[in-house]
Structure formats: structure tokens, C-alpha cells
Amino acid sequence: MVNLMHRRLSAKLSFLAAFSGAVFLCSSASARSEGATDQGAYIAVTSDCVACHTAPGGKPFAGGLALKTPLGTMYSTNITPSTTFGIGDYTEADFSRAVRKGIRKDGNNLYPAMPYTAYSKMTDRDLHDLYVYFMKSVRPVESTPPKTSLPFPMNIRSSMMFWNILFRNDRLFQPDLSRSEEWNRGAYLVQGPAHCGTCHTPRGFLMQEKPSESLGGASLGSWYAPNITSDKISGIGSWSPENIKTYLKSGHIDGLAQAAGGMGEAVEHSFQHFTNDDLQAVATYLASVKPVRDPEDGNTSRFTLGRAISSADRVRGDQPIRSEDNSNMTGAELFMGNCASCHNFKAEGSRDGYYPSLWHNSVTGASNADNLIATILFGVDRHVSGVEAFMPGFGGRKSDAAQLNDEEIAKLTKYVLDTYGRPQVSVSGAEVKLIREGGAKSPLLALTRFGMAGSMTIITLACIYGVFRRIRA
């Protein structure tokens, strides 16, 4: 437990825990408006603007999605061309400043929940096309979403100025002329519009991405965005380019992995619409990303663990017929009662792959149980090419038909890890509770609440040090 809290609270805190909430976008919220064929629409898709800037069931880009972050709940804004409520009065320069530098037309700072540190790499041409798309093809929506009001002192937007001095990247994407055009396109997409690092790169104390561990895996509210570096054990170095393309296109590969949570949304709203050339470019670039190894993985990749074992054999024969719930259900009984009807009693899934195998699966083979717990709590709802991949949640929402409590989910998770995945991983009811509530809160908030003066001093010193270093450089 101490270890867990330490791990969670020390580093992997993200403003972009964004996706951690119950985020479901209805089909009306498709980025494919009438101007879908134009270049700007495609850039909006590759940048996945719609995922955050559309509320569940709401109009595209009208904002209002509640983003549960470690610092409090933020609401995405209306970015339709409404002059009253949206960005209708933005000039192209205003637009570019907001997208790439995180500064609104009125001069106020955006929070880095808006991934402007990634978008800053985007080309002028792409920014222009994107601007034209938003102004010409997106329908203005005349309504305003709820206002973000973070707790003090995070409500002082100007504090972001210091953060920007330290961490904003004001340089456009720089092609590496020693590499192929394809590689450079992939690098541009991954680092820029697709903003992969926003979720997959671990963050430092001030929530900045840590460049030394780029794409090395990070906690994201309830979910964990895993290591996608080229490392053969901890990353996806064992995947073929075809694997990567299939995964991004469909969100699912038998015997490897499936996309849920934020990645499910990224596939649904963004990657499935990538051109094949762009998917190939992303695959080529990812294969070259510096490997990051997690020592906890030992020498086993998360894709190769587990095998078919009958859970039915462990529970049949000695059970009474009950007229009330057994508070001491074993992990095997929980598995048989809740999982086996779809994933099968040997957990091999279905032949057509709709129900994934629970062994040889990145979620059960991972070195932390976050995604397994989050999947059980919140389920999966991914729409790709008009087809839905669905698993119900088992109590993450109060209205779920099945309501497993923290201890039951801990027991079930541990059973699945022990039987079909990585048995070394430990799970506790407290960890389930944390994930149920949306992940760890930021220590920044605690620090500022309980020791405002001290923490501000530290932050100020850190900023001064950073500025000093930059000047020297």
C-alpha cells in the first residue's frame, strides 16, 4: 500500500487525467461534419479535438465534457465558431496562440489539460487548415458549458505563466533529415497532433512530461497508459508494424491487447480515421522510439503471460444453492459468476475475438493492475467502423446492473492475475477504491492547502532555477 501510494503520488500525475471520468461520446458527436473531406477536418481528427471538446450526447465541439483531473474537475470549452460562446471572433493568429501556446484571446492562460505543449509542434500549414475548418465547416453552437473553477490556488490562471516558461515547447517540429520521409511524418504525428506523449509519457512533480522516459507509460486517472516504446519487454517492440496499424485502426488484436478508457476513445474518434499511410508512418516511428524498460517487468513481456485453465473445475461440486449473497465468495466464484459467461470458463474468449482472451493479454500481463481494475469497474464501449465492442461496468457507475464492491473487485482482479496473468502483481481494496474515485489526487493540491507558503517557495525556487538554466543555455 505504501509502495502503491508512493508510486502514484510521486510522479505519474497528469493534468490529462482528463479521460478518467465516465466519458462516452454519442455517435452524434462525430468529428465528421460536412466538410470531412477537407484537410482541416482530417487534422482535427488526427488531433482528436472532439474527444475532449464534446460532452456526452452533446453537439460536436460545444464543450462541456467534465475532465476529472488530479487537481479538480475541469470543463472543456466551446470551440465552435459562435462569436458569443465559442471562438468565432478569433483571428488565425489568436487561434494559433491558443492551440500552440495555451493563451486565450483575452490573454488568460489555458490549463495544460489542453495539450498545447504537443500542438506547439504543428506546422503553420496545418494550423491554417485547422482554423479554416473550424471557422467554415463546424456549426456554431450558441451555448456555454459550465465554467471551470479549480480550487485555490490553481484557479489563478496566471500561475501557468511560470509553468509555461519551464515546460512549454515553443519550437515547431524539426524534421530529422537523416531519416525517411515516412519516419518524419510519423514523428510529427506522434509528437504533434496525435499528442501520444500527453498520456503515455510519465510526468514529473510539476506535471511536466519527462522527456527521458518519453512514451514509457503513465497513470491517467483511473486508467494506465502503458509503455509504447520500442522496448521488447516493457514496450511494444515485439509488435510488427502490421500489429500497430491493426490496433490503431480497430482497437483490438487477438492475443495481444484491446483499447479501452482513453485509448478506446482515441481509436474511436481519431486513429480509426487515419489514412493507411499515416498509420504506417506512426508504426515506423514508434519502432524507433528509445526503449524504456520497467524493472518490474523482469524479463517477461505483458503480452505473453498466462494460459487456458478451467475455473469451473475449482468451484463445482461443493457449493450450496444460496438465497442470499455470500460475502466470502472466492475469486474463482466471482470469475465464474461475472466473467466466464462471455470470456469462457477457461478465459480464452470467443473464437471470433469479440470477447478477448484474458491470457496473452496486455491488461492481465501488465505489472500494475490499474487497467484490469478500471476495465472491471467501468467496462469497455468502443465504436469502430460502426461496430460496437462492449463490456458492461461492474459497479464503476452507481447505475450499473452489477455492483461489485472494492473488496470483491480486488479479489476478482487478483484471481485473474494469479490464474491468467502476472501473479506477482498485488491488489488491494484501497487501490480499487482509488481507481473507482478517478485516480490519485495531486500532492500539489495537498501541499498548497496545508502548506501554501512552503510549497509556493519550492515552486518559485524551481521556476527560478529553470529560468536560470534556460538563460545559461
Binding site: 468451484v315 457449493q319 438465497s323 466464484e333 461475472n338 462492449f390 452507481k398 447505475s399
Partner: protein
């Protein structure tokens, strides 16, 4: 410690009817308190109960739902169990062995999910054919409520009007989901039936077809819809309970309502219930809804008899407990030379409905024909073992019996007959409350239908399927569709509730569900009960809004 809780709406029963009303009242901003006689058991426990049953008990739908002593329901695994709760008498007592479940979520736990609407003609038997009764309203009035019920529960069904039921009517909304494809057995039945003029239609069913609905997953064909859908792809009211609580509704389980209290203005004032320690409590409210099914609701009204209500509450007409209906069922167990392979998809997924309509209904009952789509392997295995086979011969016989046997059923439209009556038995239950006594006679209308119409047709269908052996059940069986005991009508003299399921005698008492159904039709009753529930909920919300 006796308690006295209060709420805008008090609902007795947590089945489909109670849950639909609870949600609508909560959505309108009113407080809701629900009483459930039985326990609340989670799906995983029930699923494991089912799987832990010995094979010979797998077809007893109540076996995974052992009753609590204070909330008995009928179990029929042994003779003594069969006699332990319902006190059944009359020539067709066997045809009223109703298998409902007194658990939170009610009998939808093990319903088939089939949602046949009644037809315009079904609601006008008296004026069209001179039998039974006419409903208080026409099909046009009911239609929008059917549509709302289909969307509330998530009913899948065909888009093609030629495959929709009732025929030649307008639907105000399409089904929320497309149909579930036929398995090989159902396809074969459909093709064969068509050659003898019987149209086997894809059944509208409250089961998710290929997509999720309301946070519940698509059906993946476990083929044990009864006794329990293991993944909640089929709607059952138990899936609504967490949502009701999330909206602020309160549910008290193991609370057996035993008395409805009226005041001097003929309004309901309170409902009294026992907890498992036999301590009595009461709840008070503005509107009271008894939705504890077609047997328990009239029983509770009769139990509440006192000086003010000498025949029981809501019973100035003496119709409470009369007109008990269900579709009397006959089954044909059929052996064929060719394999049919039932068992792919839901346990029921299609029916022949065109046999339920026609001018012949002046003389005898219409009926619905269908084939059970249960996998036959358990039955085949047991039968093969009884033959004393072993080794390869056993395997071959199990395979043959699983593939080349089928069960066809025919369910007859009942008439509301006042002599089919629920009264209070002198036999008591664990709490000391009178058990329900029910006299049941299917009546000549149904018997004539069986002799002249349905049994010959059943044989014809079996032969068309290639039957080499046909065994028809020697007596009528129950379909578990309990209807009629608090019958609806416009005239308070011969009916219990009005067109909104409001008791004629007490304007803050609603008795929605199967009991209110004026006639039964040939199809499964739940979708009509749900439509009546939504209609009643509109009236309840209106009444609360306007005092």
C-alpha cells in the same frame, strides 16, 4: 423496533411494473419507496446457483431461487414442494402452477423476454366475437405506451413491417434494436411452417441484439435466458434496481406487505409489512401502487378486509381475485429423423402468431404456436443415460437426442371467467398469513380450441417437421402469465380498476400489471403489463402534480 417511513409514492413489488413506475416517478421529482417481500440476491450468485444444480433440476426455473420462509413462492421439484404454497383446486389446477419469484427484481429474473403486443382485435373480443370482455380502450390508446415500454426495456425486433406484430397497424416508434438472427432450428421451423400456412415470426424480445442497451451488453447466446440471463443482456427488473437507488429511490427488501389501510375518505393511508423477525412496520405516502403480481396483489387486497372494506380493499365489485387467467399450454415432444439443432441463440426467439386471430374466435380460442429453442443436450443426456447405454453408444444417443428432438408448444387465449377465482386459503404460510387458494378451469372455449383446432394443427406441424414420434401433454399446463385478478373496466360495478389501473374504490391506489388485463390474448403478457405500468405512471405523476 417498528418503523414508519413515508414517501410520495409507495410501491409494493420490485418487478418490472414496480420498477418502471418507480423510475418515472423519480424522474418527475417525487420520492419513491419500494417494498419487496423477498431477498435481494446478485446475479453472480444466481448464475452459480443455476450452474451448481444437478442436471435433472436444470429445467425447474425456480430452482436457482430458493425462497425465504417469509416469502414463499411455488417450487415444483417434488410433490410436497408443489403443495407447499399455492393451494390449487379445480379441474385444471395443474395449469395454474405459476412459477413466479419473490426476489427483488421479480419474475423477470426468469422470463423469456418475449414481447408480443396484443392486437386491436384482442382488445374487442366482446364486440367482435361475443365472448369475454372488451377493454376500456382501443389499441390506438395503448400503442404509444407499448412503444415507450419497448424503449424502456430495450426490445429488439424486425424493421420489416411484414414481420411485425400486430399486422396492418402503425407503430409510433421503431424497435430500439434490430432482430436477433434465427438459429438453425428456428430457421427450419420457419421454412416448414410456411408450407402449411403458419407464419413463424422473429419475436420482439427484451434482449440486446448485437449492441449494448442502457449499459447492458449484447446477447452472446448462453442459451439460458431462463432461469437466468448470466450477463443481463436480457432486460430484467433487477437491472433497474441500482439505477432506481442512484436516482434516490429507497428499496426495503424482506418486507412482506400484509395489510392495506384505508381512512374514512376511502383513501389509502398506509401499508403494513412484516420483517423476517415478524415485527410489523408501516409506510405511508400519497400514492400507493400494488405491483406484486397477479396472485400476490389480489391476495393482499383480500387480506386487508375489515369493517370498512368487508370484502377486502378495492373490492366493492366483488371482482378482486376473479377472472384469473393464463394461457393454457399444451406441449408436444417430438422426435425426428433429421437433425433440427435447437439451442443456438435465446431459449425462445420466434413464434407463430397468425393462428391467434380470426372469426373462429366466436367458437373457440386462438393460440400461439412456438418451438422451444433450448439446447436439448441436458434432456438428451438424461434420456440416454436412462436407456442404460454407455461408451460410444451413449455418446451417439446423446447427440441424436440433442439434435433430432424438439418441443413444440401451443398457448391458448384465455377468457376472463368469474369462477376462476383466487380466495384466501385456510392454510397459512410461515408468517401466519393465508396462502392463496385458486380454483382454475380452462373453460370450454379453450377445450374446444384444443380439440377442434390446435391439437390437429400441432400434429400437422410436427409431421411437416418430419416427426417420427409425437407425445402431446395429457393435460393443460401453465404459461406463467398471471392475469385478470384485478380486472380493468370502465364500469365500477364489474371491474376493479379504471383505464389507468387506478382502483375504482380508492383514488390514490393503483393496481397495474397483469391483474389489470381485461383479456389475455395468446402472447406473453409482460409487454402489455409494462405498457399499462407506464400509462399508470403518467396518471400517478399527473395526480401528484395537480393534487
Amino acid at each position: 423496533m417498528p418503523s414508519n417511513l413515508s414517501s410520495d409514492v409507495i410501491i409494493v413489488g420490485t418487478g418490472v411494473v414496480g420498477c418502471l413506475i418507480a423510475e418515472q416517478a423519480l424522474d418527475a421529482g417525487f420520492s419513491v419507496l419500494m417494498l419487496e417481500a423477498g431477498p435481494r440476491v446478485s446475479r453472480d450468485t444466481i448464475v452459480e446457483n443455476y450452474r451448481n444444480l444437478p442436471p435433472r433440476l436444470r429445467n425447474h426455473w425456480n430452482a436457482p431461487y430458493p425462497p425465504k420462509p417469509w416469502a414463499p413462492h411455488l417450487e415444483t421439484r417434488t410433490e410436497s414442494e408443489g403443495a407447499s404454497y399455492l393451494d390449487l383446486i379445480g379441474p385444471n389446477a395443474k395449469a395454474y402452477e405459476q412459477g413466479y419469484v419473490r426476489y427483488a427484481g421479480g419474475a423477470t429474473w426468469h422470463w423469456a423476454g418475449i414481447c408480443w403486443r396484443m392486437t386491436p382485435d384482442d382488445l374487442r373480443l366482446k364486440s367482435l366475437y361475443g365472448v369475454g370482455r372488451d377493454w376500456a380502450f382501443s389499441y390506438d390508446v395503448l400503442e404509444p405506451y407499448y412503444a415507450r415500454a419497448e424503449h424502456a426495456m430495450g426490445v429488439c425486433g424486425p424493421r420489416d413491417p411484414a414481420l411485425q406484430w400486430p399486422p396492418n397497424t402503425t407503430r409510433s416508434r421503431p424497435y430500439p434494436m434490430g432482430p436477433i438472427p434465427f438459429g438453425p432450428g428456428e430457421q427450419r421451423l420457419t421454412d416448414v411452417a410456411a408450407t402449411i400456412g403458419m407464419q413463424n415470426l422473429p419475436a420482439p424480445q427484451a434482449r440486446n441484439s448485437g449492441v449494448s442497451f442502457d449499459g447492458r451488453p449484447p446477447c452472446c447466446g448462453n442459451n439460458n435466458c431462463f432461469p437466468v440471463c448470466p450477463i443481463a443482456a436480457k432486460y430484467d427488473a433487477a437491472t433497474a434496481l441500482p439505477r432506481i437507488e442512484a436516482k434516490g429511490g429507497k428499496i426495503i427488501t424482506n418486507a412482506v406487505a400484509y395489510r392495506v389501510e384505508t381512512n374514512s375518505q376511502k383513501k389509502i393511508e398506509a401499508i403494513h409489512y412484516f420483517d423476517p423477525n415478524k415485527t410489523s412496520h408501516s409506510v405511508s405516502g400519497k400514492i400507493f401502487v400494488l405491483a406484486c403480481n397477479g396472485i400476490e396483489t389480489p391476495k393482499l387486497l383480500l387480506l386487508s378486509a375489515n369493517e370498512k372494506n368487508p370484502h377486502g380493499v378495492a373490492n366493492s365489485s366483488d371482482q378482486v381475485g376473479r377472472n384469473m387467467m393464463d394461457q393454457p399450454k399444451l406441449v408436444a415432444d417430438v422426435e425426428m429423423t433429421e437433425p433440427l439443432w435447437t439451442g443456438v441463440g435465446p431459449v425462445q426467439s420466434s413464434s407463430i402468431m397468425n393462428t391467434s386471430q380470426g372469426d373462429f374466435r366466436r367458437d373457440y380460442a386462438g393460440a400461439m404456436f412456438r418451438m422451444e429453442n433450448m439446447a436439448r443436450s441436458t434432456l438428451g443426456g438424461l434420456a440416454a443415460l436412462e436407456k442404460g447405454l454407455y461408451g460410444k453408444a451413449l455418446d451417439q444417443e446423446i447427440r441424436r437426442l440433442s439434435a433430432c428432438t424438439a418441443r413444440l408448444t401451443v398457448e391458448h387465449e384465455p377468457l376472463p371467467l368469474s369462477f376462476n377465482r383466487l380466495t384466501l386459503s385456510d392454510k397459512k404460510d410461515w408468517l401466519g398469513l393465508s396462502r392463496p387458494r385458486i380454483y382454475y378451469d380452462v373453460g370450454d372455449y379453450v377445450r374446444r380450441s384444443a380439440t377442434q383446432y390446435t391439437v390437429p394443427l400441432l400434429k400437422k406441424l410436427a409431421i411437416a417437421l418430419g416427426a417420427t414420434d409425437i407425445k402431446i401433454s395429457p393435460e393443460f399446463l401453465h404459461s406463467d402469465h398471471i392475469m385478470g385478478g384485478t380486472i380493468m373496466g370502465n364500469d365500477p360495478v364489474d371491474s376493479v380498476v379504471d383505464a389507468d389501473c387506478r382502483a375504482h374504490d380508492h383514488d390514490n391506489l393503483f393496481l397495474p400489471g397483469g391483474g389489470a388485463m381485461t383479456t389475455g390474448g395468446s402472447g406473453n403478457s409482460t409487454i402489455t403489463m409494462a405498457a399499462l405500468a407506464i400509462k399508470a405512471a403518467d396518471a400517478i405523476v399527473g395526480q401528484l402534480n395537480h393534487g
